[in-house]
């Protein structure tokens, strides 16, 4: 007989779930340079990512977040918030959910969409930064079609994941 069943998720995910990094303290989003919000409470998943950006280099200096979400959403956004620090806006925009999942050592199939959420919120925050700074031309639109209305998740996201 096997003694202990392994955790539902990887150890890495468990670590980030137990002590999530960069949770936004307080409620004041005004002190950030970009704010992105995805999902909604009715669907059981919501994510907000806020970023601080060095205007000269376009490097992300801080990334914080809040979520109404499950263990995968919490852990994947925690790890994502670590990954983007020091990256340029452009580099950060192109981090794929797949890379996030890889960092976590894999995710169960039915949980992939949860990691997509953090990624989408980050992209929304980056776009928000561009809009706020009059760089509307830099705003990147998602090309793919939305296949999950409720999560605003696209077929593109799923493939990426």
């Amino acid at each position: 007989m096997l003694q202990a069943g392994e955790w539902a998720y990887t150890e890495k995910l468990k670590e980030h779930f137990m002590s999530p990094k960069n949770i936004m303290q307080g409620e004041n989003t005004d002190e950030f340079d970009g704010v992105g919000m995805e999902g909604n409470l009715q669907c059981g998943d919501q994510m907000m990512v806020v970023i601080k950006v060095d205007r000269d280099t376009e490097v992300i200096t801080d990334c914080q977040w809040k979520t109404y979400g499950c263990a995968s959403a919490i852990a994947s956004t925690s790890i994502l918030s670590e990954m983007v620090k020091g990256k340029t806006l452009d580099q950060a925009f192109h981090i794929s959910p797949k890379e996030v999942a890889q960092e976590l050592g894999g995710l169960p199939d039915n949980k992939i969409h949860c990691s997509v959420l953090g990624d989408k919120a980050l992209r929304a925050a980056i776009n928000n930064y561009y809009v706020r700074n009059g760089m509307d031309d830099k705003v990147k639109q998602e090309q793919a079609k939305t296949i999950c209305q409720c999560m605003s998740i696209t077929d593109h996201d799923i493939e990426e994941a």
Partner: protein, 398 residues
């Protein structure tokens, strides 16, 4: 501390059931065999049947042993879709079925499949406490209705239905009555005559018996056709070599329930009251789901808006506490509980709910530990929740 508060999902074996199983392991005959080994197994299976029958006020030959509560429910529903009815000579089943929106998936999914196969299936609404709408039932009942299936106690919120009243209405229109009593038998008194049901489902593993065995009560004289076919086992009503160990375990589990149920349910009720009061006092912005009084004494379902259910479950798990979100068998599904939605709870509150289900091994120390850990856990999750930020849904309530 290790705290198992998920007794509606499944229960530990009763120590007496363990003993019985260990003792019975040498008894290996096939109850269908005519020789000594077979007769020994047969005698023990029949003894278990008597205990189960006695516990719910049935005759011995009204009890069919099956492989699970799910199988029992599938068996009953499936009686109503045969295109030929060759197995039940002389009976033409009526082809409409009525059930409720809060049934266990094994009833709901089977109903959906039957609908594909030509049955008409209607689903009863429930009120905000999870009670079936009897007026709606009265309106639905008619000449075409063959079967009404209403669960006795709900697994997620614990709400009890008035099966006796429903049976009466159902019989008046000439239909048959089934109740899934998996969560009720062994927790509240169940007497098939008083309930007036034609079919009733029991599962052993919810009452400290083994998993993979259940019983179906089939009232004498009611048209019946086996679901699993072959062999003459169970008087031709369920094929497959009898799960002798499982059946003996169920018999013993029922015997122990008979001895312990009454006192224990009182104990659970008082523990639940303490748990409820403690949660109310220590955590704000909460909602209890299910009926405030007509409910299983060990079941407490509570919503914490702004905190997601799976996150609560897993943070509690890290502290050694087992609870569930919705029903165990729905885990893996991302949809909010169909039961909570049916009671009119909005999706967010449904997503943020957990079920705490106490059992015979639960202690007051465990309740206290839970009351220590749960508030911290909810705070922790709410602190990182978007639902509580400025402009978030619950910002005002803070």
């Amino acid at each position: 501390m290790k705290v198992y508060f998920d007794n509606n999902a499944t229960t530990p074996l009763h120590p007496e059931v363990k003993k019985e199983l260990i003792e019975a392991m040498g008894m290996f005959g096939n109850p269908s065999s005519m020789h000594a080994w077979g007769r020994e197994a047969r005698a023990n299976v029949e003894d278990a049947r008597s205990r189960v029958a006695g516990f719910i006020g049935a005759h011995d030959d009204e009890i069919v042993f099956v492989g699970s509560g799910s199988e029992a429910n599938n068996t009953v529903l499936s009686l109503f879709v045969c295109a030929s009815n060759q197995c039940i000579p002389g009976t033409k089943m009526r082809s409409s079925i009525i059930t409720t929106k809060i049934e266990h998936p094994c009833v709901l999914e089977t109903s959906e499949c039957l609908a594909h196969r030509g049955a008409r299936v209607k689903y009863l609404n429930v009120d905000r406490y999870g009670k079936v709408d009897l007026d709606q039932l009265a309106g639905m009942l008619g000449d075409d209705v063959g079967l009404v299936s209403v669960m006795m106690a709900n697994n997620e919120i614990g709400t009890l239905q008035d099966i006796a009243t429903i049976s009466k209405m159902v019989h008046e229109c000439g239909a048959l009555m089934h109740t899934d009593a998996v969560q009720a038998v062994g927790k509240i008194p169940v007497d098939v005559a008083a309930l007036g049901v034609d079919f009733l489902t029991i599962s052993a593993h919810k009452i400290y018996g083994p998993k993979g065995v259940g019983a179906l009560y089939v009232k004498k004289g009611i048209p019946y056709c086996p679901f699993i076919r072959g062999g003459h086992q169970e008087r031709g009503r369920r094929a497959g070599t009898e799960n002798t160990l499982g059946i003996l375990g169920l018999g013993k589990a029922v015997e122990m329930r008979q001895l312990e149920m009454e006192a224990e349910e009182k104990r659970l009720a008082s523990m639940k009251a303490i748990l409820k009061k403690g949660i109310e006092e220590r955590i704000d912005d909460i909602y209890f789901n299910g009926h405030p009084t007509d409910s299983l004494s060990g079941t407490l379902n509570v919503s914490f808006p702004g905190a997601e259910g799976e996150a609560i479950l897993l943070y509690l798990d890290l502290e050694g506490i087992a609870v569930s979100t919705g029903s165990a068998c729905a885990s893996g599904s991302l949809d909010p509980s169909h039961v909570l939605l049916a009671t009119g709870v909005d999706a967010e509150r449904a997503h943020g709910s957990i079920r705490i289900s106490l059992g015979r091994e639960s202690t007051m120390q465990e309740v206290e530990y839970m009351l220590d850990i749960l508030p911290k856990t909810i705070k922790r999750i709410r602190d990182m929740s978007t639902a509580y930020i400025k402009g978030g849904t619950h910002a005002a309530s803070r």
